[in-house]
């Protein structure tokens, strides 16, 4: 063997080696699932990586929903964006407005020749996440809806029926208070549960232009008499000691876990955590109470949670992997396992059926409440969801104004008027940049 051939063969083998190394395409997936949920999400990536050799998915936790979204946007501006990012529902309008940054999932699947049937998803999910042309721009991943968590032991000990209306809720709360329950009622994500979902549940408009779905000129209408009356009622409960406010987001969770709250309105996705953390008492989920003065029967609730967005600016081979991974995640098996473990609703009809077949709903009474609430009736323009720009900030404004009510600094009417005024200003700013 001459030196020349030796060099040639070694060069050839080097090339072969390097192609073998690059044969695996890496893609980045940024998510906002912490704790138990995060482990499960990462496990999806690990399973997917083990099933095939072509792609490697790096599943990275980037902090809470807001942090993940802002990190992805900052990364995009710096040209370092992930392939897939999980964005919560209130960020939907912002993402949809960013046409140059988003690779719509229906188009991605079409380009990669993977079947993507939007009608597989449950109607509440389709209606929330479809654009005006009826296309889904992102892949639904985790969706939940607010339910009322009930401490059954406290209800039994006081011979109480689980309430279905707000009058019954107040009556039950009084008995429970009498029996020494510190805060009979509690709730988290207050804008989502007590304003957005209260409105959908009673078929009330949240904002003009079909809650923002029909255009960016939308204005908030949450200072309407029904919402104000509801907040007045809650403020009365504060004064009577029937409800003690314990913070934004899920900060009030200890109230329910410690038995200080007997009724707690928040996401159905607390199921997994509660099942692990609560041993001292029996609990279940029931539908949110109805305000019979507004509507005799509830309409339907709206979802919270997040979808997966594909961002532009990557290689075609990487998008092939992204499409395969998204396809894997939306698989019936994965979705059913995920929903069973976490309390998120099964977002495809097939996953719901599989859970039914497995007997999950029968074994865990109450776990079907979320999906029942979501599909209670055909969503109306008021109850299909909401699409407001800058809504992350607007929610903070609503939080602030609601806290002013709980502290007794403002009346419900004043607070909601202020929330509408301040919120509309941000909507106008969004309109100015995205109109």
């Amino acid at each position: 063997m001459t030196l020349k051939t030796l060099l040639a063969t070694s060069a050839a083998s080097l090339i072969a080696l390097s192609t073998a190394a690059t044969a695996q395409t890496e893609i980045n997936f940024w998510h906002a699932m912490g704790g138990q949920l995060g482990e499960r999400t990462d496990a999806f990536a690990t399973t997917f990586n083990g099933q095939q050799d072509a792609c490697v998915v790096n599943s990275v936790y980037q902090g809470n929903y807001t942090e993940t979204m802002t990190a992805a946007i900052a990364a995009f501006r710096a040209g370092e964006q992930p392939h897939i990012v999980q964005v919560f529902e209130v960020g939907t309008a912002t993402m949809m407005g960013a046409e140059g940054a988003v690779y719509p999932v229906h188009k991605l699947m079409e380009d990669q020749g993977i079947e993507f049937n939007e009608s597989d998803y449950i109607p509440a999910v389709i209606s929330y996440y479809s654009d005006t042309d009826g296309n889904m721009l992102s892949l639904p991943f985790n969706s939940s809806t607010p339910v009322m968590w009930v401490n059954l032991d406290l209800f039994e000990a006081n011979n109480l029926e689980v309430p279905t209306t707000w009058e019954e809720t107040i009556a039950a709360a009084r008995v429970l208070k009498e029996a020494g329950v510190a805060s009979p009622l509690g709730f988290g994500w207050q804008s989502w549960t007590q304003i957005e979902n209260f409105s959908a549940w009673h078929d009330l408009e949240i904002g003009t232009m079909e809650n923002g779905f029909a255009g960016t000129t939308t204005e908030l209408t949450i200072n309407n008499p029904a919402v104000v009356a509801h907040l007045d009622r809650l403020q009365d409960m504060v004064e009577e000691g029937l409800f003690v406010y314990a913070g934004r987001r899920g900060d009030s969770r200890p109230q329910f876990v410690n038995g200080e709250a007997a009724m707690w309105i928040n996401s159905s996705a607390y199921f997994g955590g509660f099942a692990a953390d609560i041993q001292d008492f029996e609990f279940t989920q029931v539908p949110m109470p109805v305000d019979t003065a507004v509507r005799a029967e509830p309409q339907n609730s709206i979802i919270g949670g997040a979808t997966l967005w594909t961002l532009t600016g990557h290689e075609d081979a990487e998008y092939a992997c992204a499409a395969q991974f998204l396809n894997f995640l939306s698989g019936t098996e994965q979705q059913a396992d995920w929903a069973q473990a976490t309390g998120y609703v099964p977002i495809t009809n097939a996953a719901a059926e599989l859970m039914q077949e497995r007997g999950f709903f029968a074994e865990n009474p109450g776990t079907d409440v979320a999906i029942t609430q979501l599909s209670l009736s055909e969503p109306t323009a008021n109850s299909r969801g909401l699409r407001f720009g800058n809504f992350v900030q607007i929610r903070d404004i609503i939080n602030e104004e609601m806290e002013a009510i709980w502290a007794g600094d403002k009346t419900a009417q004043d607070a909601m008027d202020a929330a509408v005024e301040r919120g509309n200003e941000l909507l106008r700013r969004f309109e100015a940049t995205n109109g």
């Binding site: 802002t70 995009f76 140059g100 200890p254 410690n258 800058n390 992350v392 502290a407």
Partner: protein, 294 residues
């Protein structure tokens, strides 16, 4: 004697200060300029387009009651944190200065909290004062019958973040005060004692004036700390709430910019903050420093 150093080469001095100038330009002047520029624009989130809006970002801020309230909150917070942390630190330093046995042990313990990250300090107090779980909240209720709920009560929330922010800074102040106290000649204090001055008088007429340069330095450092570095404490505990009770200016910059992604308004707020720092530094060196005895 000529104190100034005279360089032979004309260019050497410029070369020597160049690294410092470059660092200042790249890390301070350039970002500051960018903030100033962005504050005149309205920009979409992903940075595809921007429109020049003149002073609109500023006029909007000053038309916003919430922003004006935030000024007041910031001043209350800033001065309360500075006063609390400095007075506590001075008290501890005076006490530690008198300790003869195991002095190092005491000092080490007192300096320890400085190693705690601000966010952790916030969370620590947050847990202890949590209305449902916290030990302090429980004691307040059982011993004094105080109904503690910083989720609802804005004053309590503000008090909580003030305590957390001040606690964190005590160690730092303690270190400087202790050093200053130890540099005071013993003979002066002894002389005053012989003249019949009691400990309180000795402190206020001799010790306090002698450590005034340190006090002045700490005043500047603490105010800057309270105004700008306490972001993590607020972020990790109250997120500016309840309502906007703990929403200090620097937190507002963050929430507008990073949560709301309204970069124009956020930049305008940074520019206003910059102006405040410049004004504060000017006032301090112009008026307060004159009274300091070096």
């Amino acid at each position: 004697m000529e104190k100034r150093v005279v360089f032979k080469s004309r260019w050497l001095p410029y070369l020597l200060v160049a690294p410092q100038i470059v660092i200042t330009l790249v890390f301070f002047i350039w970002p500051a300029y960018q903030a100033l520029e962005t504050s005149f624009y309205l920009e979409d989130v992903f940075g595809f387009s921007r429109t020049f809006v003149g002073l609109e970002n500023f006029t909007r801020l000053f038309g916003d009651d919430g922003y004006l309230r935030s000024f007041w909150t910031t001043f209350v917070f800033g001065f309360a944190v500075t006063f609390l942390s400095m007075s506590m630190a001075l008290g501890l330093a005076v006490a530690a200065n008198r300790v003869i046995r195991t002095a190092t042990l005491y000092r080490t313990f007192l300096i320890w909290p400085y190693a705690v990250a601000p966010a952790l300090a916030g969370v620590l107090w947050f847990f202890m004062m949590n209305p449902t779980l916290g030990i302090i909240a429980y004691m307040l209720e059982v011993v004094w019958g105080v109904d503690w709920n910083h989720y609802v009560n804005g004053d309590q929330a503000l008090l909580m973040v003030i305590i957390a922010a001040a606690w964190k800074q005590i160690s730092y102040n303690f270190l400087f005060f202790l050093a200053a106290l130890q540099s005071i000649p013993k003979s002066m204090i002894e002389a005053a004692a012989i003249d019949g001055a009691n400990p309180g008088r000795r402190f206020w007429t001799i010790v306090f004036p002698l450590i005034s340069p340190t006090t002045f330095f700490l005043l500047v450092v603490n105010l800057v700390y309270a105004f700008f570095d306490t972001f993590a404490i607020i972020h990790a505990t109250t997120s500016g709430g309840p309502a906007d009770a703990t929403s200090i200016l620097v937190y507002k910059v963050y929430s507008t910019g990073f949560v709301g992604q309204d970069y124009g308004s956020s930049a305008a707020q940074s520019v206003i903050l910059m102006a405040i720092v410049i004004a504060m530094t000017f006032i301090q060196f112009r008026y307060v420093e004159r009274k300091v005895q070096y």
